[in-house]
């Protein structure tokens, strides 16, 4: 992309020593590199290195992912245009999420895939659901909860212990629940502690009340956002009063929870370990400080939370910049950053396609004039083409790239190795369905040549007929005739006898078929017809010169047949005379 303002990644080729040059050649999905000295003979390393992109596509789990997403992609292209974005999304995204679950089985790829899932879900919330202030926070809460699975694990461990309230992780679990806005569960946990401390019952009762009364915005309800805000501020003041009154002063844990509820930043930051990420911190902070946050305000909070949370020393990772770009609603930046960070176009291609179908992507013209969606799909599909079976998925992607899909397919499909006849037929069918006549011709020609080299004349002939290649058909017919002269019999009789109108492709072929027909008639003792046919063959002059003697020799026995009509006799004699003159010339 022309706008790429980042230094391209450098791949080092081992063993390229000083003073030598690096030669290279393109392979189907890779580059070959070798040490050399241009235009100067010499001795040196004779190794050739193969430089390849990280080969995700060969992993069996990811193949399943690619297959599933292909299925979804094709479905999305045919979905009705007038369907609102939400419907499109709800129909398709759950299937994609399922795939992501599947793929998390592959340990090595887990971190990348989890990151992808995180980004994808956030994009859903922000771009596709496009929730306004009010529901926005609720969706963000869901998002954070979805990606913080360790809380439930810890909780399970605590609850399964002898005395949960005395478990060393107990308070961590309670606080984690609170941080995620899961008050029901927090309250249930607190009950266990309350029963152990009857003396502090009133304190626990108060906390329980506070937790139960926190207002959550109900998108389906009749309450307006303003009304909700008023209610929330009221509650917030109540919590603050409890703090000022030192209601929880004697219980350090409850005091901490109270401070969290009031949104005290320092307390929140003290729990970095439980929050574990800046975006959890962001959502929690919003929950307790500004639950009516508007989408347009998100980026401001996101930036400040990231700064507060991350150490001065730590550098934001690619994932962080991608999420930040999402919070800024900068779709293009998200796509650009993902393209750079991830080594496979799969994610960005499908994300962009989905966003494009939801009409969220403005047309963004690139170098070749094709738009962003098409560019990414072309890159992704080109990558698939190097795989021995996934290339078939790529065809559908190319089909749905209106500008360059067709020509890309033309260029790539010629490179699919035609290992078996079956594969060749598969490739052919794809080409024929798309009126790619050049490629059809080329493939048939290749198969015909191959058959000819292996002396499979029948196969070679059918391929050249399919290619509509007259010249080649002539060549093969000659071979058939040569064979006949050498052995006295024809091969592949089935084929020759049933060619039908295809025999008209070339004169030589027509002659071959008719000549064979002549033989058939003769064998069936239909001498009259045989004679007529032979005559027409001679007079039509489509017989190759080399064959004239043979034809004349064939005619001789006919002249001795009584059934041959008188006129035919004369005609043959004349024909004879005519041709004898020719031969004698």
């Amino acid at each position: 992309m022309e706008e790429l303002d980042v230094e391209p990644a450098i791949t080092n080729i081992p063993a390229a020593s000083d003073g030598k040059h690096l030669g290279f050649a393109w392979g189907p999905g890779d580059i070959l590199a070798y040490e050399t000295l241009y235009m100067a003979p010499g001795s040196g390393c004779s190794f050739i290195h193969e430089v390849r992109k990280d080969e995700d596509i060969y992993s069996p789990i990811l193949r399943k992912l690619f297959n599933e997403s292909h299925h979804i992609f094709v479905g999305l292209q045919t979905i009705r245009e007038d369907l609102p974005s939400k419907n499109k999304k709800t129909q398709l995204v759950p299937e994609l999420n399922y795939c992501l679950e599947l793929s998390s089985v592959l340990v090595l790829q887990v971190s990348i895939l989890l990151a992808i899932e995180l980004i994808w879900n956030l994009c859903e919330v922000l771009f596709i659901d496009a929730a306004p202030a009010g529901p926005l926070l609720l969706h963000l809460l869901d998002w954070v909860r979805l990606h913080k699975g360790d809380v439930d694990e810890k909780a399970r461990e605590v609850l399964q212990s002898e005395s949960p309230a005395e478990h060393h992780d107990y308070w961590d679990v309670v606080v984690s629940y609170v941080l995620q806005g899961r008050f029901e569960e927090a309250r249930q946990m607190l009950v266990k502690q309350a029963t152990l401390q009857p003396a502090a019952r009133n304190m626990y009762k108060l906390m329980d009340t506070l937790l139960s009364k926190m207002p959550f915005y109900n998108p389906g309800g009749t309450q307006t956002l303003t009304e909700f805000d008023v209610k929330w501020r009221h509650w917030h003041e109540e919590v603050d009063r409890c703090l000022q009154d030192n209601s929880f002063a004697s219980n350090q844990h409850l005091e901490i929870i109270c401070k969290i509820l009031v949104g005290d930043e320092d307390t929140l930051l003290e729990h970095k370990e439980l929050l574990s990420t800046w975006y959890h911190f962001l959502v929690t902070r919003l929950l307790f400080c500004h639950p009516t946050v508007k989408p347009t305000e998100l980026h401001y909070y996101a930036q400040s939370c990231m700064t507060m949370f991350l150490d001065l020393r730590s550098v934001p990772e690619p994932l962080d910049s991608i999420l930040l770009a999402a919070f800024e609603f900068d779709i293009h930046q998200v796509i650009k950053d993902c393209s750079i960070a991830l080594n496979n176009w799969w994610f960005v291609a499908h994300l962009t396609d989905l966003l494009d179908h939801c009409k969220l992507l403005q047309s963004h013209n690139l170098h070749f004039g094709s738009n962003l969606r098409e560019f990414l799909l072309l890159e992704y599909a080109s990558g698939l083409f190097t795989h021995h079976s996934l290339w078939q998925l790529a065809v559908d992607y190319f089909d749905n790239c209106p500008e360059f899909g067709h020509v890309y397919l033309e260029l790539q499909i010629e490179r699919v190795p035609l290992d078996t006849e079956r594969k060749a037929l598969k490739v052919l069918r794809i080409c024929e369905q798309r009126q790619m006549s050049e490629q059809v011709r080329s493939i048939c020609k290749i198969m015909a040549m191959r058959a000819l080299r292996n002396n499979r004349l029948g196969s070679a002939l059918s391929w050249s007929i399919r290619a509509k290649d007259a010249a080649f058909a002539t060549l093969i017919s000659e071979r058939f005739l040569q064979d006949y002269c050498a052995r006295g019999t024809f091969s592949d009789l089935d084929l020759i006898d049933n060619l039908g109108p295809a025999m008209l492709l070339s004169d030589r072929l027509t002659f071959l078929v008719k000549y064979r027909e002549f033989h058939k008639l003769y064998e069936e003792n239909r001498f009259s017809e045989a004679a007529k046919l032979l005559l027409s063959l001679i007079t039509a002059k489509i017989a190759p010169r080399s064959f004239w003697m043979t034809l004349l020799t064939d005619a001789l026995p006919l002249l001795e047949q009584k059934e041959v009509s008188h006129s035919a006799h004369c005609a043959l004699h004349c024909g004879f005379g005519h041709d004898l003159c020719f031969i004698l010339q």
Binding site: M1, E2, L4, P8, I10, I13, A16, K20, H21, L22, G23, F24, A25, W26, G27, P28, G29, I31, L32, A33, Y34, E35, T36, L37, Y38, M39, P41, G42, S43, G44, S46, I48, V51, H367, F368, L378, S382, T386, F404, H406, V407, Y408, L411, Q412, E414, R415, V416, P417, L418, S437, E438, S442, K445, I446, M449, R453, K468
Partner: protein, 275 residues
């Protein structure tokens, strides 16, 4: 010292050529490396190899310091010399097969300044056309234009042989990039592109993606890589754009199959990708 390595059309075979005067062919299917043939026939370092289109069978061309171009063919599992061309007076530096639409035609560039065009006419016969003095001092590289029928946006009636215009580009020691066109069976110099200040080492004509534009890449001893584009279908006005100036000689340029990436090899030992 390997001087060139080329994958065949399908990426299943690899041909390499070397200072040791041999051309070797390997089977590289499924990550394997099996030596299939060791072709001997050259009497000097072999500079380049080129695979012909599979529809003609398994055919490989090689060119060498020994002034010869040899065309090898695989017949019944064995590789043998199909044709040997000795018409040059100096090292042959580059060979390139034309698009299969033109039949089997090979362009060869030599240090004697000439470019030869070898066309297979059938029955072990080759027709030779020579462009003498194509580049003074020597020709270093040749590359064919994709087969495009003039007015190809309109369908040709089937069965009729399309009227192709054969074109190729060459680079030489006269610092020039030249375009050649065949007219009435004769090869004529069509364009002279000047931009380099030293020997042109390699040229590459980008594959066609259906647009009426043509694109050529050239690289030179002067460290520069130029991209030449022509917007008019007649092919008359070419504009140069400097892609990059490297700190050392740039030896080799090569376009990917779909022409969206240009790979460049320079004397400072890097292979750079550009989009």
């Amino acid at each position: 010292m390997v001087h060139d390595a080329q994958m065949d059309y399908y990426g299943t075979r690899l041909a390499t050529c070397s200072s040791d005067r041999t051309v070797k062919i390997f089977d590289v299917k499924n990550g394997g490396q099996i030596l299939v043939a060791d072709l001997r026939g050259h009497e000097g370092p072999v500079w380049q190899v080129a695979w012909a289109h599979p529809m003609f069978g398994n055919i490989l061309a090689s060119c060498s310091y020994d002034r010869k171009v040899i065309i090898w063919k695989e017949e019944n599992g064995a590789w043998d010399k199909m044709y040997e061309y000795c018409g040059h007076e100096s090292s042959v530096n580059s060979v390139c097969w034309g698009p299969y639409d033109f039949g089997l035609i090979l362009a060869c560039g030599s240090s004697d300044g000439a470019i030869s065009l070898l066309t297979f006419t059938g029955d072990q016969q080759w027709d030779v056309k020579k462009i003498s003095n194509a580049h003074t001092i020597g020709c270093n590289a040749v590359s064919w234009a994709p087969a495009v029928v003039p007015g190809s946006l309109i369908d040709q009636p089937s069965g009729q042989k399309p009227n192709y215009i054969k074109r190729f580009v060459s680079g030489g020691c006269d610092n020039l990039v030249k375009l050649w066109k065949e007219e009435d069976g004769q090869w004529k110099e069509d364009q002279k592109l000047e931009a380099h200040s030293d020997w042109v080492r390699d040229v590459g004509w980008a594959p066609s993606i259906g647009l009426p534009t043509s694109t050529i890449a050239s690289c030179s001893q002067d460290g520069r890589v130029f991209i030449w584009t022509c917007d008019d279908p007649a092919g008359n006005t070419w504009t140069a754009k400097l892609l990059h100036k490297f700190s050392d000689v740039v030896w080799h340029v090569s376009w990917s199959i779909t022409g969206n990436i240009l790979a460049v090899s320079g004397g400072d030992n890097k292979v750079a990708y550009t989009l």
